[in-house]
Amino acid sequence: MIEYAVQNRSTILEALVQHIWLSLLPVVFGAVLALPIGYLAVRYRWLYQPVVNTGGVLYSIPSLALFVVLPAILGTGVLSPLNVVVALTIYTMALLTRTVADALTSVQGEATRAAYALGYRPLRQLVGVELPMALPVMLAGLRVATVANISLVSVGALVGVGGLGALFTRGLQLDFIEPILIGIILSVLLAAVCDLGIVLVQRWLTPWARLEAR
């Protein structure tokens, strides 16, 4: 297997690089979009249920279905990477909006009421008090979304845009097991690295969590 890896390293590397940006871009876009929507869903109570329901429905849709339906809606070609990025962004948003909303709701309590009484304005309070407190929960959701995306990108190979998924299709076509194994290993490693990365970011951003007594 090592031989195969060495021989085909440029293809493999190309696949890996494509996989990385195909999975991480949607995470970033999805997270950035989920924050305001999640906040609104908490600020305006009546929005919560519709937002969560829509997210639930969107998240139910099988990825392959979304990959092939988006071209019709977006007007892109079926084989365009944009489909995969948009589809995964939709999934990430669907997942994270609820996470953000629930996290913000759960941190409401004495600390936020104290902040309000101290004279914090809403935006400052959101950014300076609520978000930091909600970080652990939100980052946990981010980990789930990232790892899920990394797995889903491979499915894009069926519409020609698969990152490491190309290794799987090649293995199937040629009946070779090596590319498949390499693809799985790299995919799992990538997921582990990203997961660890987020954990480290969490440790860095929330130093108070480590100082708890006991």
């Binding site: 139910s60 392959l64 409401q108 809403p122 491979s154 299709t169 799992v188 997921a191």
Partner: protein
Amino acid sequence: MTAVPMINYFAYLFDGANWQWAEQGSIPHLLLQHIAYTLVTVAISALIALPIGLLIGHTNRGAFLAINIGNAGRSLPTFGLLSLIVTLVGIGTLPVLIVLVVLAIPPILAATYAGIRSVDRSAVDAAIGMGMRPPQVVFRVEVPMALPLIISGLRSATLQVCATATVAAYVGLGGLGRLLIDGLSVNEYDRVFAGAVLVALLAILLDLLGAAVERAVVSPGVRSPRERRTRTTSKSRTRPVPTAGVSS
């Protein structure tokens, strides 16, 4: 590729010929196959994962296993595993279904374990102190209280299987995925579209069914606080003050 006018995409879906029951490969046939694969897979995974999750949760031994299998399962590329099994063993329905079962175990196991651990310890203490034997404690107290999380695990496993089964058409499995894969290979995008729409609708329907099951089976006393809040009268809950819209 130039964009095809929207209306053409629906051709396959609305062609009556594709809805003939008797036909191999007709929509109803594939639909039923897909439903069957999904439900049978989840049932078998549940049969394996539920007891293990209950045991680990109740005794809290092997927690490491439950948590990490849950995480590991999520990071495995489903398409990769399908390709692997087929390359190893050859094309066939059984190997693929086995992969589907294996992939569905982590979410059910993790959710079951999390559910049991989330149960209020004082209720369990009271149950033991009152004279319930361990199986009674598990099934009369812990499980009913853990049900919301357990069912959410089952629902998420169902969606996952439904989606992966679609992809599995690439390695020869039947079901609605066939429309997608076969359509792609012969450039019949109306067929692809039909498959996508149908499988999306099926997934949504299965999820709604799951929600209905949850409503039916979970005791009203255990529902998530959000749901309960709309039902109970009593204490006024102050809205979260900072987000209640303060003009400053």
